[in-house]
């Protein structure tokens, strides 16, 4: 029993924080380091975004996207012409075709990449 009392007493003594003269200065130093880390992280995220955008844009240009889009446009027009002859319903011919579809797909892909990047950055 006395043993337990002493151990509790010791825990209380350990819980008593010693008075240190520079407590406020210490808290400010921690706050500054937190702010510095936060600013660095924001710069890092921004830089990663710019780098990702540049890489993405260069990849799009280098992969001959615009030639493919033209080819896809003509294919879509051919397909659309074929569909008007074969489609039993009229609504199919009202779907956007050609370059518009490609642009929509590109926009959706960019949004998806942005979403994935955001999640990855949050996880980091």
């Amino acid at each position: 029993m006395a043993e337990l009392d002493f151990e509790r007493r010791l825990e209380r003594l350990f819980g008593e924080a010693p008075a240190l003269a520079d407590d406020e200065a210490f808290a400010e130093r921690v706050a500054r380091r937190l702010d510095r880390g936060w600013t660095a992280r924001r710069w890092l995220i921004g830089a990663a975004g710019v780098a990702g955008g540049l890489i993405g844009a260069s990849q799009l240009l280098l992969s001959g996207l615009f030639h493919r889009m033209e080819a896809a446009g003509s294919s879509a027009r051919t397909l659309s012409t074929g569909l008007t002859h074969t489609a039993p319903a009229e609504w199919i011919s009202t779907l956007p075709s050609g370059g518009v579809v490609v642009w929509i797909a590109v926009a959706v892909a960019i949004v998806m990449i942005g979403f994935v990047l955001t999640r990855v950055i949050e996880e980091i």
Partner: protein, 191 residues
Amino acid sequence: MASGRKLRFAQMHDLELCAQAVTGERAAFGELVRRHAPAVRGLLRRMGARAAEADDLAQDAFLAAFERIAEFRGDGTFAGWVKRIAARLYLRRLQRERRLAGMIEAPPLEAGRAEVEGRIDLDEGLKALSAAERLCVSLCFGAGLSHGDTAEALNLPLGTVKSHVKRGLDKLRARLASDGRPVAEGSPGDG
């Protein structure tokens, strides 16, 4: 505006501040630092860290706590959680700098060296312990680690840790008993 926020945070409970900090609210975490930094710095000094080293480690512990604040579930106190982080950081540093083995093997100090003008308190009492005893007692009673966790953290056999704790407690008991001063009840700062 900023002082109003500061005042609002000052009135919040630790758990509310932690919830705010999880959302990235650094001012809320700053309030937690203000409240508990003395306890964390004190523990590191009691474990044997020099003042500058203790402050350095305490800063690292609070930054690590902010990074991992979402992991704090409120099972224990926030102060206890940060103290454990700080204690482990200190042990890691001792191991990295190959100081831990030397500390553990160092012989105990001569009894009576810690006494200053007849006044004995915990800090003075701890000085009479060997480095290993001081580490074990501080980890168990200051950081709230179990004997098993302490043995794991120090990479020592459980029996050795229990022996260090027992010898340390015996020395402290003798000193604190001879002190004769009443011990303050309900220590602040662990909220």
